[in-house]
């Protein structure tokens, strides 16, 4: 995830954060180097406590780094104070897992809040709020209170509110984690549309790989306060290198071995060879296993798998077993046709 500084919306450089605690300090983040490309949707995934929330909150100065720098559209956030920091915050919208809407204000009132805070004149606020309500599709609900809205509607209000001051960057703090899968999809679609239409850079944190698969162009994996892997989402999904990434992936890409196989897996023969085949790009749509059977006469046993889209690119993951003595031939054939294979072991 590198690029020239002018192409970057957010740059983390040697960023670290530690908190004082009885008998020393606790390190929340350490040596974070990450560039968020302008116009990208970049996702950071990590388990709870990995430090992803702290990392996100440094972008708008809700937390200050104890080491290193965070730069947002060229401005050093950690050094900014008072009016300078507030100006940066108006350029960085934020949405939250629990929406954080004012219960005392209607949809309209909630969206107007950041504009009132910025001192926008009343007439302009009304016009802008109407436009935002339209943009997120909340028209008939403009005068409702948050308590009368569903989770997805509340998050739309949160998104409209975050966009009110016309920011260049949007931070999303687990924005879909409190929503059901269907609502999550509609909110992700809205975020994707905003990203395309407004050229807005979105930095989101999540613990769900599916969210990254659906909208992130770039991603980073954070573990115990360090970034262990980062790059374009497609590359990481198709060629994960770190065990943490693999473990996150196992849930969404069908790479988990069925229990009845996993329990009997051993390092060497005898037994059928279990192979993970990764399909990327156009190969995902080729009938490779059929060709394996017709061209080499090797019949593969399918143990599990899935084919899906990352962004708009197809990507598949298949677990097969073939007779041990034909494993090498099968793999060579698949590799020559642009697929990636990995031997997981042998099973009786």
């Amino acid at each position: 995830m590198t690029g020239r500084a002018e192409d970057a919306a957010i740059i983390f450089e040697g960023l670290g954060k530690s908190f004082p605690k009885a008998g020393g300090r606790v390190t929340a983040l350490e040596g974070i180097d990450l560039t968020v490309p302008a116009g990208s949707i970049t996702g950071i995934i990590g388990r709870s406590g990995a430090g992803k929330s702290t990392l996100l909150r440094m972008v708008n100065g809700l937390e200050r780094p104890t080491e290193g720098r965070v730069t947002v559209t060229g401005q050093d956030v950690g050094q900014a104070r008072g009016p300078a920091l507030r100006a940066i915050r108006r350029n960085v919208g934020m949405i939250f897992q629990h929406f954080n809407l004012l219960s005392s204000r209607t949809v309209r009132g909630n969206i107007a809040l950041p504009l009132q805070i910025a001192g926008t004149p009343g007439g302009q606020i009304r016009a802008r709020v109407d436009q935002l309500i339209d943009q997120v599709g909340l028209g008939p609900l403009a005068d409702r209170y948050p308590a009368e809205l569903s989770g997805g509607q509340k998050q739309r209000v949160g998104i409209a509110r975050a966009l009110a001051t016309g920011p260049q960057v949007l931070l999303s703090d687990e924005a879909t984690s409190a929503l059901d899968p269907e609502t999550t999809q509609t909110v992700l679609e809205l975020l994707g549309r905003i990203n395309r239409d407004l050229g807005l850079t979105i930095l989101l944190i999540t613990h769900e790989m599916a969210v990254l698969r659906d909208i992130a162009t770039h991603m980073a994996v954070i573990e115990a306060g360090r970034i262990v892997e980062s790059g374009p989402t497609y590359d990481i999904f198709t060629k994960p290198t770190h065990p943490t990434t693999r473990s996150f992936l196992s849930g969404v890409t069908g790479t988990t071995l069925p229990a009845f196989v996993a329990g009997r897996l051993q390092d060497g023969p005898p037994g059928d060879q279990v192979i993970r085949v990764t399909f990327a790009g156009t190969h995902a749509t080729d009938p490779m296993l059929a060709r394996l059977a017709t061209e080499l006469g090797i019949s593969a046993n399918i143990l599990g798998g899935a084919i899906e889209e990352i962004g708009t690119q197809p990507f598949g993951n298949l677990l097969i077993s073939v007779p041990a003595d034909q494993g090498d031939r099968a793999r060579a054939f698949l590799e020559t046709h642009g697929l990636t294979t990995e031997v997981l072991g042998h099973v009786r």
Partner: protein
């Protein structure tokens, strides 16, 4: 009850209402800002002034630990300084207000501390100043709680106002003691008690009605 007691009860009711009204308004004027400050000035909070917070907290606690009847008598010199006299209805408003301020301050502080921290974070992320957060987020969101707190304070002041007879404060409580108790007129005592119950009931109902009107935290049935 003889007919000439009616004007007496009416006058005493008006005196009580007047004392409670003035001391409630003054108490709220002092208690609201103090409560807001107490709720936002601990270490790491919006106004972050931990020392002033501690000192004010101690003053509030000290005032609240003095029984009201003692407070009335103990501050007579101060009352004279403010009201020009130490007896009468106007003088009685001084201790009533002085008791109301810390009481209301604590109730307001509690109401504001109930506001979800996430809202403060959201407002900070929007670039709000601490004062904007207080005025546009904390107070509006705490309004149902503040309203119920003020209701409780007014009800307590109605009770307190019965004690200011000790400094010639007049009002219903004073009437009840002087006529009902000292002159053995139980019908006056009964009338005073009934009027006090009605007053408290009215204040409580009004307070709850207003609190419900400003409370938008739960969905409301919308008529078709």
């Amino acid at each position: 009850m003889s007919a000439n007691l009616i004007p007496l009860l009416w006058e005493a009711t008006l005196q009580t209402l007047w004392m409670v009204a003035v001391s409630s308004v003054l108490g709220a004027l002092g208690g609201l800002p103090l409560g807001v400050f107490l709720a936002t000035s601990q270490r790491g909070e919006l106004l972050g002034a931990p020392w002033i917070n501690k000192i004010l907290g101690l003053v509030v606690n000290a005032t609240r630990s003095v029984p009201f009847i003692i407070l009335v008598v103990a501050i007579i010199p101060f009352t004279r300084l403010i009201a020009g006299t130490s007896i009468g209805t106007n003088a009685a408003m001084v201790p009533l207000t002085l008791a109301a301020i810390p009481f209301i301050a604590r109730l307001v502080e509690n109401a504001i501390r109930e506001v979800d921290q996430g809202l403060i974070e959201a407002a900070r992320a929007m670039g709000a100043t601490p004062l904007q957060i207080i005025a546009r987020v904390l107070i509006p969101e705490a309004l149902p709680g503040i309203t119920l707190g003020l209701t409780l304070a007014v009800v307590s002041l109605i009770g307190y106002s019965a004690m200011v007879g000790a400094v010639g404060g007049q009002g219903l409580g004073d009437l009840g003691i002087r006529y009902g108790y000292q002159r053995f007129m139980p019908e006056v005592m009964a009338a005073v008690v009934v009027i006090l119950i009605v007053l408290v009931q009215l204040v409580q109902s009004l307070g709850e009605w207003i609190a419900a009107r400003v409370d938008r935290r739960a969905p409301r049935n919308r008529g078709l």
